[in-house]
C-alpha cells in the first residue's frame, strides 16, 4: 500500500481543563505520537477543553509543569488543525482573544505564518466528527 493509503484522519477530542486531571497532558503526548506516524491529525477543543489553549497559564503556584507552550510547537509536527468550539468559549465567558496565538509556517506559501486555530460552530464540529476515521477522546 502507498503511504497515502495508510494515512487516516485522526481527531483528538479534548473536553477537560488542564492540570486538574492528566487528560490534557496525555492527549498532547498521544497527538505527538500520531504526528510521528504522518497521519492526518486534527484536534477538537470542546467544553472545558478550550481552557487548554487559554493564554497566560502560570503553574508555578501549583507545582506542576506548564505544558501550554507545547501547543504552540504543534505546527512543527504538522499538527495544524486546532478546532475550538465557539459555543464552548462563549458559555465560559471566553473569546478567541483569550487564547494563545498558535500558528504554523506554510512551506508551500513561502513559509508564511498562518493560524492553526479555527473557531468552529457546534454544528460544524458535529460534521468534523462525522468525517474521521479514528476518534480519540480525552
Amino acid at each position: 500500500m502507498s503511504e497515502q493509503a495508510n494515512r487516516k484522519k485522526f481527531l483528538y477530542v479534548n473536553r477537560r481543563a488542564p492540570y486538574g486531571t492528566i487528560y490534557a497532558l496525555e492527549s498532547l503526548e498521544v497527538v505527538l505520537i500520531g504526528a510521528a506516524f504522518e497521519q492526518d491529525v486534527s484536534l477538537a477543543f470542546i467544553d472545558d477543553g478550550v481552557y487548554q489553549l487559554v493564554a497566560g497559564q502560570d503553574t508555578a503556584g501549583v507545582g506542576m509543569k506548564n505544558f501550554s507552550k507545547t501547543y504552540r510547537a504543534l505546527g512543527d509536527y504538522e499538527v495544524r488543525k486546532l478546532y475550538v468550539e465557539r459555543e464552548s468559549l462563549a458559555e465560559r465567558g471566553l473569546t478567541v482573544e483569550d487564547l494563545m496565538p498558535i500558528t504554523y509556517e506554510d512551506e508551500d506559501d513561502d513559509y508564511a505564518e498562518k493560524p492553526s486555530i479555527h473557531l468552529t460552530d457546534r454544528s460544524e464540529m458535529a460534521r468534523l466528527i462525522a468525517e474521521q476515521d479514528v476518534i480519540l477522546s480525552f
Partner: protein, 102 residues
C-alpha cells in the same frame, strides 16, 4: 457512514451526555453504559433531552450496567433499547467510527 457515540458518566454528575447529544448527526447511535445508564430511567430529568434526539438518533443502554444498579428494563424510558455486551459489539461494527464522551 454513521457514528456510534458512547457515554459512560452520569448526566447528573457530568455534562458528557449533553455534549454528546449536541454533536450527533442524523442516523448516529448513542449508547449509555456504566454510570450513564442512570440517565435512561423513566421520569428522570434527562429523558426530555434524549427524546428531542430520538427522531435522528437511535438510543441504547447497556443491560448489565442497568442490572448492577438495580434498574429493571421496565424502568427504562420508552424509545431507548437495552443491549447486552454482544449488542455493544454489533453497534461498534455497524458504525464507521466510535466517539467516546468521557
Amino acid at each position: 457512514m454513521p457514528t456510534l457515540h458512547t457515554v459512560n458518566k452520569s448526566p447528573y454528575e457530568r455534562s458528557s451526555l449533553e455534549s454528546c447529544l449536541d454533536h450527533v448527526a442524523e442516523g448516529d447511535s448513542v449508547l449509555m453504559f456504566e454510570d450513564a445508564v442512570v440517565g435512561a430511567r423513566r421520569g428522570g430529568k434527562f429523558i426530555a433531552t434524549l427524546k428531542a434526539e430520538r427522531p435522528s438518533c437511535a438510543l441504547y443502554v447497556l443491560g448489565p450496567d442497568l442490572a448492577a444498579r438495580g434498574i429493571k428494563p421496565a424502568d427504562i424510558a420508552e424509545g431507548i433499547s437495552v443491549v447486552d455486551y454482544g449488542g455493544f459489539v454489533d453497534l461498534a461494527v455497524a458504525n464507521a467510527r466510535v466517539c467516546a464522551w468521557l
